[in-house]
Symmetry: C2
Subunit: 127 residues, 2 copies
């Protein structure tokens, strides 16, 4: 059994992610946590994020750009990325069951999850 420790650092990382609605990267989380806990190490942020992801408390997503982004909302939902300003929005849509069945049939895989990335221009960049 793994003994689990709720440390000040992990609590702070979780708190920061939960209070962010902009899907921050590890670097942004580091900066925000450091404002309240200046001595914290970068590695601790990564450790805490991985721990939280494994426990299902937050979710990690990667998009075309380099850094992974973290999401406070652990249930499955989808995302729309503005290709101009990089802003990321949550999208609540449901993929019809038949599409999942099609995907499963055509690949021979047992599909357990899916994620849709929408790309386009946000209302501010579209003008």
């Amino acid at each position: 059994m793994t003994k689990e420790r709720r440390t000040r650092q992990r609590a702070l990382v979780l708190e920061v992610v939960q209070s962010s609605d902009d899907h921050p990267t590890a670097a942004q989380i580091f900066q925000r946590v450091r404002r309240r806990y200046p001595g914290i190490a970068y590695a601790t942020i990564y450790n805490a994020l991985r721990w939280l992801v494994n426990r299902g408390e937050i979710t990690e997503y990667t998009f075309g750009d380099a850094a992974a982004r973290y999401d406070r909302n652990p249930h499955r939902h989808h995302h729309a990325l503005c290709t101009h300003c990089g802003q990321l929005f949550d999208v609540e849509v449901r993929l019809p069951k038949q599409i999942l069945q099609q995907a499963s049939r055509r690949t021979g895989m047992k599909i357990t999850a899916h994620h849709i990335q929408f790309l386009g221009l946000c209302s501010r960049c579209a003008t």
Copy 2:
């Protein structure tokens, strides 16, 4: 205007990607090209890949893991990733128009593209 040059290196990179059905990473492409052109530099692979992506001859995708993968098939299609062995399959399914309209309405964005990632276990890993 930018004058475009078809060089031996770029031709080889394109040829390697087009003859690969396994969505290779830059490192794999590098190895495969180097078998036929031993002196080629890593940077040249990246330059060639970016050039080919910009011209629309190949497509770049990023998944959870570190390295980008390149796809010989430039038309829009979707992917299924085996979370056990990492193998990536093409998936041909069509997202219903109403889902795109919903996404657009709910985010206020002008959606120009989308990509579905299916996750699960391939037939070999599922047993």
